[in-house]
Symmetry: D2
Subunit: 371 residues, 4 copies
């Protein structure tokens, strides 16, 4: 059963209630980065603003906890508070049913009843939940998205700690399933330490023996990349000859390495400013149709915050955005899954096994499709 997109149904703007709804109200920003009193904050759902009698306009590239700005060209921009400029026209109103000229459309996608029921029990996902169907559906989804969507991966450093996991994710990149990558300094350092020295934090990737002076391997990796100037140059010079960063760069996949206070180094190309990093991440998030976040609370929650439940494709088609989080702890996945979205799924396991399983499932499909 190949994956098919669920159909999207627009709100019935001819319903009496919406027909008589007032137009949305906008107020100008008076102080930079401060929203006017009574601003409307966005959700993850499609939001329509009543522009003029009968014309409801969809905010196209949305995310939660932002405000809607009516741009001079008539489009609706979903902006973080910190990006508000004096004079921006911000939508006001906190009722989501149209009474303030704003309609939040949380039920637009026709989902099979099985999924709805699953949703009812979503919060009970635990290590004892059976995940066979989630793997199978994910294979189908990623296969579809490889051709038709934009698959954004969010990686914690643990993906680079294990030989099989690092190899598997590299193969997933090489086979076209990665369109964007979000991570931190540590993922890139560990991965390149693997290429330079065959170790991660000084421990051999496969044998786990501790290299002599192993604790220097980490710092030497950073120092070497700083010395050569960039990860791209290190790959270009074949200094970095295998692994996740090399595959990413050779496939010209856009990536963001966001800085954090936990970083050593950092590597060049890591973005020091957390909010500029958010902006770069959101540039990829706007394009994402499926997100897979693995073994990182910081980057996964940061990404989850900026991923809406839908995307407007070229031609205006509205489709869902899928969000998978993979982690070992119920606490972490509950935080991530707590988005009230039918399209968020959690898998509780060690990311090493997840990636290895995933690669096998995807590549078996590749072969059977080719055969």
């Amino acid at each position: 059963m190949a994956f098919t997109l669920p159909r999207y149904t627009s709100p019935d703007f001819n319903s009496p209630f919406l027909l008589t709804a007032p137009p949305a109200v906008f107020e100008r920003v008076k102080q930079a980065a401060v929203a006017p009193e009574g601003y409307h904050a966005t959700s993850i759902f499609p939001e329509y603003l009543h522009m003029s009698r009968g014309e409801w306009r969809l905010a196209a590239e949305s995310r939660m906890d932002c405000v809607i700005v009516l741009e001079p060209d008539g489009s609706l921009a979903v902006k973080e508070f910190r990006h508000l400029k004096v004079g921006d026209a911000v939508a006001l109103g906190r009722r989501e049913n149209g009474e303030d000229g704003i309609y939040v459309h949380s039920g637009g996608f026709e989902l099979p009843s099985a999924i709805c029921e699953k949703f009812a029990f979503r919060t009970q996902v635990s290590r004892e939940t059976s995940f066979s169907i989630d793997y199978d559906e994910l294979y189908e989804l990623l296969d579809y998205e490889r051709e038709n969507g934009f698959i954004l991966w969010v990686l914690g450093p643990a993906v680079a700690f294990d030989k099989d996991a690092r190899d598997a994710f590299t193969a997933i990149i090489d086979n076209g399933y990665v369109h964007g990558l979000l991570a931190g300094n540590a993922l890139a350092v560990h991965d390149m330490e693997g290429s330079l020295f065959g170790t991660a934090l000084g421990q051999e990737l496969y044998s786990k023996t501790h290299a002599v002076m192993g604790h220097y391997k980490h710092l030497d990796t950073i120092n070497k990349i700083r010395s050569i100037g960039s990860i791209e140059e290190a790959v270009g010079a074949s200094l970095i000859s295998d692994g996740i960063m090399k595959a990413t760069i050779q496939k010209r996949i856009p990536y963001v390495l966001a800085g954090s206070i936990r970083d050593d180094g950092p590597l060049p190309t890591v973005i020091a400013d957390a909010y500029r990093a958010q902006d770069e991440m959101r540039a990829l998030a706007r394009r994402a149709t499926t997100v897979v976040a693995m073994a990182t609370q910081l980057h996964a929650i940061a990404t989850g915050n900026m991923i809406p439940s839908y995307r407007v494709m070229k031609g205006g088609q509205v489709r869902p955005v899928y969000f998978y989080s993979v982690d070992m702890s119920e606490f972490a996945t509950a935080k991530l899954a707590d988005r009230g979205s039918l399209t968020a799924r959690s898998i509780l396991t060690n990311v090493q096994d997840f990636v290895v399983n995933l690669e096998r499932g995807l590549l078996k499909k590749c072969r059977s499709n080719a055969g």
Copy 2:
């Protein structure tokens, strides 16, 4: 690199210290199930008793936290306190270096230095430890043990909750990698509910949809097996036609289902008495050369308590016993790994993925060996 048994080196009984050691002292039990003051308690290591000048005798089927009884035939039995009978001759002495005629030989196996170093860091096993080599070594080990050893599995109920995991473990049984099975009532009930109704606790195994009146599936399963008389009869009558219990019974694999206060039912053949269950478990534990405990703290710790670090094979050869524990929580695996043994390993992951990976790895080996 195929698996080879590490060589065992007996203690040097000609060392001056051991040559002058006194003979072991035994004292008779005066009150049933009570050891005499000053009793010696066993460890997981090979223990030798100085019987008479120069003759050191090895306690053959040992386990920790028991006492050593000199049997009338001259053999040394390692007995639980509760099995002590009035008149039993119990070894006394708490020094383990020979001074009391007892020598605990903790360093008998020549282990590669890599493993020793790993051991040094054993307590630091976490979800971020790389496990590639552990999987590979486990494939080699189980392949060896299938022909030459006795592989004892300890299963938590979660193995039966997921379709792929249940299928994978059934295949592992069918391919000869299971020589004994320890579990509780819940594993057997969930597994047979899967065969009877396609559900586990009322939820469909694969689709996860909740069956109508689903909460009755669990109780109906127990009631049906009680009605037919035994799991064996249910399998014989083809009432139970797939899954773990069916494969176990058809392959005539010895198994113990130990009762617990958490049980519904219980199923027939579940052993109600915790200590009789321990005895039955130990009967299999005495034969085990490798133990794999998955997703159960109760049964895993119970089994771990009765598994020594070595086994004396026919012909007198002493070989190590391997103990793997698989769990999602550092807390659980730390409890299990805390045995001071070089041959205990932990893998932190979801047992579903572990079993699926394992089956793939083992069966790939099968095919490549056959090819």
Copy 3:
């Protein structure tokens, strides 16, 4: 604000639907310990059976996953399957709305809307949930129950590992807040090792230094109690002169120590047979009005299984039964809280701190009430 019992409202048996409901149907047991096809299984809620036109009878001492037997004296006994005798009259029917003459009354208690709302979010209880109000309400509740109810405690061994926690729980017993105690062999052994040697598993309770030959302390404790005959005799002889078991026995508090396959020893008075242990536990569970389960999955789930959401007091008053579970892991408390009951609460913390906080809160109340 002192605690007050929520009022119970019986079902409206004059509603047209219930007035026309058929009488409950009973079928005789033909095979011991096997329920007749179509048996009705109980829930945690009050269940009424339609006995004859207009007479609905409440099953008084209920628990989930059992069957209802019409006793010769006309009362309704809620029995475990394994206790069914040939000839027992078992209620049939799986519809809970009266259509089968069975009415399951899940909404009998008037709960403040705040609690209902909290219930809606109950599954989201995590380590980041604020627990101030839960502590305060628990102080009020236990104060009320000390005089008017039956407080049943379920203890994991960790309560005896820490000096302050052990002292605090002993004070809670001494001050009358404990009416029944459920635990396992380990709790009693660790607690009495504390009294005999000042250690737990060989580690000094307060300083945490490892006693010389410390690993023998545990076995010596068991052996000594087995030698003297019983915990009661050990307390009577002042061999055990402080701690939880001593306080329990001196206050003549009924307790059950249920055996498990993980046990060393066991101590005398530990019940070896898991299902006889269940029976003894249920004898206390029938009387319980509040249950507090701390740091034990095995005993907490076992107890939770046999605790209904209500109790019928002398005089026929129906009141709720409160169930608190305290554990470190979301996984464990989710399993425990998953009872669909408004009166189940979870607190996520280390049981050491919980007990210490609780004792302070309760005794401050004692003093202020006395003052």
Copy 4:
């Protein structure tokens, strides 16, 4: 038993081995932010450099994973790689025993043998470790440090989620036990939402009822503070009239709010640049004599990275720096404790209970000292 500082013993520089050690070698930085090949990386221990025959100089304000720069004034600065300037003289050498003119002194503090033994088992800290002595020692320590040291707190947002915890930590500040505070945007936002609306993320702090339009409370808080200009101005204008931030500002306690990609807003005074935030954090870390990190992996690990095991006080006295981490998960505390330092301790519990217990313990001491 009041707290006393353990004595520090300098290395024996008259030992033949150190007497014949070569002088430390320095090499100039040629590329900004890149260390010369063979650089020496610092540890958490006191490190002495052999400057000229017989003169060993201690690097005074150290931290791990940095390089040692010989400043023009002859002092030794411990610098992050990214701060290296062309021309800086960086110490070379990777042997720590003096052979490279560098001596790492890991055994300088005379610790009681009990602590050393505890250290041996440090990695086994779990939820079942007894923590009574750790609390008591921490009360003594903080009491000493209030007068004689610099207590630096690292706070996760959960401290502000619970009424009692928030009140307790505010009291700890008011009583002088807080000399510096490190946190993120979320802690400050949640805390001030508590003051403005009595909620945290829209849920009432005490009753846990969900406020109407509750999800706006968080964003409104940020918007309001951005509008008024700074947290200081909000406190000055009595807009923020209780809680952690108010107490911190009124006591003129230095604090750093480090930005992260997970932030909403952010609040003004949150430092956007991760590495400038590191610099500000390290400015406080240099002064710290005790650090307590609660319920935050990101900030706790970031701080741990920059905290050495010792501090050189005015007058040249070398004293230890204590590092406590409090968290719910063995995984998190193991990561934090894994510093190889005798002075790192972990307490596994819910930070709410920890703070409440701590405040009670500290203030009881206050009163008894005053009495």
